[in-house]
């Protein structure tokens, strides 16, 4: 993990090294100031009649040190900002680059929400931790060591007290952190429960109110909230020990120094100035220790984020371009030879089993079957969105694995079941299919997909701005735009994966008609729930539990295939979607 992340430092190596260096300079300046102060006290003030010159010289030196410290501190700050934000930028870029290479299987593995979190929150966490490491990880231990060194220089006896105090305090802090972290992890988990309850109640408030379950939900919330209260109190009870323990250590040191140091001054083995500096160092040392423990907590909290990021960076794309790819698809024929497929390689249950199928160029194929019958899985193999586990998928006479991925996907256009429009104008969205498409081409595609009419009815027509996620068009309009976008590719094979489910039956029929008339040469695969969407296809494939249960024309299947007949009858005996028959205007 560390190696992966560190390889992202790249051009910010210099800044990453300069930051701790500057920090060390800052620490040195900071450590020297009390030493000079001791000299002022002992050789300037302490001598008979005083030595103004010495005071002035030392004072000047101290100001110089402060200035040097300032320069170093500012330098360190500037470099740290550059290093950490640059580091985050590189990680973000590398992650995004790798995600672009992901196959569908890789995306499924992480889920959309998972990827978003990794690209946003997790990177911010790691950026903050990295900055902390650069600035504090070197600085705090060095500050402690230098102060300790200076203390030993002034008085080994008293420095020994510090050493013991540091060790004791260090152990106690470690124990506190260990327990506190444990409780806090539990606490965060409980927070998720609480958030889930609130989330449910905001999105399902109608159900809550319809069943008059306000009091019941309140009780659930009370339980979740009180759980948090108990855990939070327990966790904070550990943290709260910090300051009294710290105070105890400081106060004990002061008293011990006063007693031992006082006697040493009296017996002339220590100067007053040295005693004063020792008091300052005592603070420096213990504060550094506190800082170290804080850094430790910060870092351990960001480890989970770092791991999640590393997973994405190190994820191997499951589908890559072949070494010598074929750059052209000859024609739109499709063949499945003994194909089986499982989403996970090691899972026993295959989603598709022994599929053998041959489709001629220009054929229109309907695919019908229940949920989970693997209709989508079947078509997703054609443009290599997933790779078959066994057997070969042949397109245009060649195995799909021999093609250049872009070439294949441009010739095999898929309109996905869960489709997305992007924020931008309708025209911009359409041009995803063909970057340099003219307005005329776009209009033509929209006419084929029966989208032209509603687009023109919009005040800004093709320049209408689509909101993120396409929230300002209806489901049926969205589907038609997605079809038009795919048509612009002018593909040899067109696959519609349940893409007209929200389009009314009349328009659905119109779209199919324009397909037959306008793009007869394109092989068309249409997945649908409605029999009416597929009944006029050249052949219909009936899928059932990952197998082909029947292939044939509507009439053939109606007489010979029980599943098909069942579906047909149920849809024609009053189960058809009534409302959508009327559909949208």
């Amino acid at each position: 993990m560390l190696k992966t992340l560190l390889s992202q430092v790249k051009e910010y190596k210099k800044a990453s090294l300069m930051t701790p260096l500057f920090m060390v300079v800052e620490v040195i300046c900071e450590t020297l100031i009390p030493l000079l102060m001791a000299s002022i006290v002992d050789k300037g003030v302490g001598v008979e009649g005083g030595n103004m010159k010495h005071i002035a010289i030392m004072g000047g030196l101290m100001l110089l040190l402060a200035a040097a410290g300032l320069a170093a501190g500012v330098g360190g700050g500037v470099y740290a900002a550059k290093a950490s934000t640059g580091f985050a930028r590189n990680i973000r870029k590398t992650m995004y680059e790798n995600i672009q290479k992901f196959s569908f299987a890789n995306i499924d593995k992480f889920s959309t929400a998972g990827l978003v979190t990794r690209l946003t929150t997790d990177i911010t966490n790691v950026q903050n931790a990295y900055q902390m490491i650069l600035r504090m990880c070197i600085r705090a231990p060095f500050s402690m060591i230098f102060a300790m060194g200076a203390a030993f220089f002034l008085s080994p006896r008293i420095a020994t007290i510090y050493l013991i105090a540091v060790l004791a305090l260090g152990c106690v802090l470690a124990i506190i952190i260990k327990f506190a972290m444990k409780y806090f992890t539990q606490l965060f988990r409980k927070y998720d429960d609480l958030n889930a309850t609130v989330q449910e109640n905001t999105s399902s408030i109608r159900v809550v109110k319809a069943y008059v379950r306000e009091d019941y939900e309140e009780n659930r919330m009370k339980k979740a909230s009180e759980n948090i209260y108990r855990l939070a109190v327990r966790a904070e009870n550990m943290v709260v020990l910090n300051s009294p323990i710290m105070q105890f250590t400081i106060y004990s040191c002061i008293l011990l120094i006063s007693w031992i140091g006082g006697r040493m001054i009296v017996s002339d083995t220590l100067t007053t100035g040295a005693l004063m500096s020792l008091l300052t160092y005592c603070m420096n040392i213990l504060m550094s220790l506190m800082m170290i423990s804080m850094v430790f907590v910060m870092i351990s909290m960001s480890i989970a984020s770092a791991e999640r990021i590393t997973e994405v960076i190190n994820e191997e794309p499951q589908i890559v371009n072949p070494k010598e790819p074929i750059m052209q698809v000859q024609e739109g024929s499709i063949e499945f030879r003994n194909v089986s497929f499982a989403y996970q390689k090691d899972s026993k249950e295959a989603v598709l089993k022994d599929i053998n199928l041959a489709i001629q160029p220009g054929e229109t194929i309907g695919i019908l079957g229940g949920t989970g019958s693997a209709k989508s899985s079947l078509v997703n193999l054609i443009s290599r969105l997933y790779d078959s586990t066994n057997g070969e998928v042949i397109v245009g006479g060649r195995d799909v694995k021999e093609y250049d991925l872009d070439t294949l996907r441009n010739e095999v256009a898929v309109v996905l079941q869960k489709n997305v429009l992007f924020s931008g104008t309708i025209l911009e969205n359409l041009r995803w299919g063909k970057e340099d498409a003219t307005l005329e081409e776009c209009k033509h595609a929209c006419r084929l997909a029966c989208a032209d009419e509603f687009i023109l009815a919009m005040p800004q027509g093709y320049e209408t701005y689509i909101e993120q996620g396409g929230t300002n068009v209806s489901g049926g309009q969205k589907q038609r735009l997605c079809i038009a976008r795919a048509l612009l590719k002018n593909p040899k094979i067109l696959i519609l994966d349940d893409s007209t489910s929200a389009v009314d039956t009349a328009t659905d029929a119109k779209i199919r008609k324009s397909f037959t008339e306008e793009i007869p040469g394109t092989t068309k695969l249409i997945i649908a729930q409605r029999v009416s969407s597929v009944e006029h296809a050249d052949r219909i494939i009936v899928m059932d539990e990952g197998k082909i249960a029947g292939v044939g024309t509507h009439d053939e299947l109606l007489s010979g295939n029980e599943i098909y007949r069942e579906v047909y009858e149920s849809q024609n005996s009053g189960n058809a979607d009534f409302d959508q028959t009327g559909g949208e205007a």
Binding site: I40, G50, M52, I55, A56, M62, L63, A66, G69, L70, G73, V78, A80, T85, R92, T112, G114, V116, T117, L119, Q131, R135, Y191, A196, V198, E200, R206, V208, V212, E218, M221, E236, V240, P244, F248, Y251, W259, G262, V266, T272, M276, M283, T371, S383, R409, V414, G433, Q468, S474, D498, S501, A506, V567, N575, D577, F578, Q580, G582, G583, E584
Partner: protein
């Protein structure tokens, strides 16, 4: 959750710097918040305040001790040939006791503050939640769920910061400043002047740097928002990106945004990073100036300034700068908390659903042909109508007779969406609503259970104006199955039992069987005890609908509102859902927003809605003969 986190980042949660949120009346909010948090804990707060003062005084006394040590003991003892240390030891014992008290005070106030802050948060969460549960549906229509969630997470968290950390630390800082300042004045007036002057310089520089950084922070927040928005959209559409081979283009756009973010983030961070060292070194300058000036003063012995005074003063100098930095930090976090508190109080101030109903639903039984109230469940329900005029009570049996009389409704008064809706349903009848999206079908059903109140007209339920019925009782008498099913985290059994909390296991199974859900439930890994999470995400759409039907079935309401799902589920599950719904509707007055031919055909009356008006009504047969809108919907032919 991810959305939540993104929002957090978009908000650029950096408390130290950056533009401050604008508040209309921060003083008022602060007063209300403090009152809310502390009024229950007045004795606690008094003890905390005393403990803070004691703790700070012990610390100040500790610093003064250095002067006493040097001037009163070490100095004279050094001059004795045979020094006697018993006096010093005695002093150290006294100091040990003072320190001990200080430490205990610190522990005591920190510990009490845990209970105060966590207790307040607990109360706050509960108050927010119970209030939210009683808000009208309108509130949820007009506020995004993300924003509501953010109140519970981000805003409550800022309050925790403020009560648990900022306020105690402010108090302790303020007391420290005052007592340290007094001690410094006692030790030396000129040195105090130097220290205070340097503090002014520090505050001035902080303000300057923060001012300079403001624009970069704004830019950083804007760019962060832009890139996070882009990431969200692109990850959502990543599969489409692949299908259209759009990877290179997507990467290009991303890199552009990433570089912009880097540029502004680097500058913004730079300023935060240098502020710390600047203040620290200014502190050092202050320390140096005091050593030099103090040294000179000590040599001259002006105003009794001794070496010991210098030693103590230098320590005070350090402990004076620290709390001042702290205050400026805490001040920012308090501003954040007040912004959070503002949103919290806004939610708490939202008016709750009003309920003037006085007609209640009670169990009843017939005695000598008279309907009387009964304590036990009888299977017969009655409306208990208390007549305000003469105090008499009458009972009306709950039958499910519903009348809409010339009802007008609009989500806001200016825009009426339902016009002159008049309809009636006799007990046990099935009324179907058909019409295109946006015609007002769902709106009508939302009026019956008073999710919204009508503008004009009357709705009568068993002859009673529904405005007179207590909302809870009205809703208890109506079952509802929504189009998009909402399930709750918990087991399958708990989800079905949601319809009737005291239902036995047998009743749960019976309801599941009626809804055709029993079969798939028993095939789940743990059957009825399978845990559902995230709105039942592990179940298919059809299965979730079956559970929603079972939930309505177990409630056994006389009137049912059904919103048939339009989303395509596979034929077999659809059959199950269909027959489950049919069984549920049997014998109940049902309002159904229909999408299926069979439902429509079997209805006693069909209402065809268009643009908020009922344009046709009648049975299937009648409407077909009419050859109007219904006919064209049904046959797909234009008329």
């Amino acid at each position: 959750m991810a959305e939540q986190r993104v929002k957090e980042i978009k908000m650029g949660r950096n408390r130290a710097m950056g533009p401050k949120p604008k508040l209309e009346n921060p003083g008022k909010i602060f007063k209300r918040l403090v009152g809310y948090a502390f009024s229950r804990y007045i004795p606690h707060i008094i003890i905390v305040m005393i403990a803070v003062v004691v703790s700070v005084l012990a610390q100040v006394r500790g610093t003064m001790f250095i002067k006493i040590l040097l001037d009163d003991y070490i100095e004279p003892l050094s001059k004795q040939s045979n020094p006697d240390f018993t006096e010093l030891l005695h002093q150290i014992y006294i100091m040990a006791i003072i320190f001990g008290v200080g430490i205990i005070s610190t522990y005591v106030y920190s510990k009490i503050m845990i209970y105060v802050s966590q207790g307040t948060l607990n109360k706050l969460r509960m108050d927010l939640f119970s209030h939210m549960e009683r808000l009208p549906i309108r509130y949820f229509d007009s506020h995004s769920h993300g924003d509501i969630m953010s109140i519970y997470t981000n805003d409550v968290d800022t309050i925790r910061q403020m009560i648990g950390q900022s306020l105690p630390s402010l108090l302790s800082s303020a007391i420290t400043i005052v007592s340290v300042f007094c001690s410094m004045v006692i030790l030396s007036l000129p040195l105090t002047g130097v220290t205070v002057a340097m503090v002014v310089v520090m505050m001035f520089t902080t303000k300057k740097v923060a001012g300079l950084s403001g624009q970069y922070f704004l830019a950083q927040q804007k760019n962060l928002g832009a890139i996070n928005g882009y990431i969200e959209e692109m990850m959502e559409g990543q599969k489409v990106v692949k299908v259209f081979c759009h990877e290179t283009k997507s990467l290009e756009q991303f890199n552009e945004k990433n570089d912009e973010l880097f540029d502004s983030a680097q500058k913004a961070n730079r300023y935060v990073n240098i502020l710390g060292p600047i203040n620290m070194q200014l502190g050092n300058v202050s320390f140096v100036l005091c050593s030099v000036v103090g040294g000179v003063l000590a040599i001259g012995g002006f105003g009794g300034f001794t070496l010991g005074s210098l030693a103590s003063f230098l320590t005070f100098n350090k402990s004076f700068n620290m709390p001042i930095n702290q205050i400026s930090q805490q001040f920012n976090s308090i501003i954040m908390a007040l912004a959070g508190a503002d949103r919290i109080f806004k939610l708490l101030d939202e008016p709750v659903e009003v309920d003037d109903g006085y007609v209640t639903l009670v169990n009843a039984r017939y005695e000598n042909g008279q309907l009387v109230e009964s304590k036990e469940r009888t299977g017969i329900w009655a409306w208990r109508h208390l007549h305000q005029a003469d105090g008499s009570v009458t009972y009306v049996e709950l039958k499910g007779d519903v009348v809409f009389d010339d009802v007008d409704f609009g989500y806001n008064p200016e825009k009426i969406v339902l016009h002159n809706v008049t309809l009636f349903a006799k007990p046990g009848q099935k009324i179907a609503f058909v019409g295109s999206t946006g015609a007002g079908k769902t709106t009508i059903t939302n009026l019956l259970n008073r999710f919204y109140d009508i503008q004009d007209g009357k709705i009568r339920y068993d002859g009673i104006n529904i405005n007179k019925i207590k909302k809870d009782d009205l809703r208890r008498s109506l079952g509802i199955v929504l189009q998009d099913t909402h399930l709750f985290s918990g087991t399958v059994r708990e989800n079905i039992r949601y319809g009737k909390l005291d239902a036995t296991d047998e009743e749960v199974i019976a309801a599941a069987k009626l809804a055709n859900a029993h079969g798939f439930i028993t095939r789940l890994p743990k059957g009825y005890d399978t845990e559902l999470s995230g709105d039942g995400g592990s179940l298919s759409q059809g299965q979730r609908q079956l559970l929603a039907i079972a939930r309505a079935a177990i409630a056994d309401p006389p009137v049912l509102i059904l919103d048939e799902a339009t989303s395509s589920i596979d034929t077999r599950t659809e059959k199950a859902v269909q027959s489950g719904m049919d069984r549920l509707m049997k014998g109940r007055t049902t309002f159904v927003i229909a999408h299926r031919l069979s439902t429509v055909r079997n209805s006693d009356c069909i209402m065809v809605l268009e643009a908020g008006k009922i344009i046709e009504r009648g049975t299937h047969q009648e409407l077909m003969e009419e050859q109007g809108r219904y006919y064209s919907l049904y046959t797909g032919k234009k008329v």
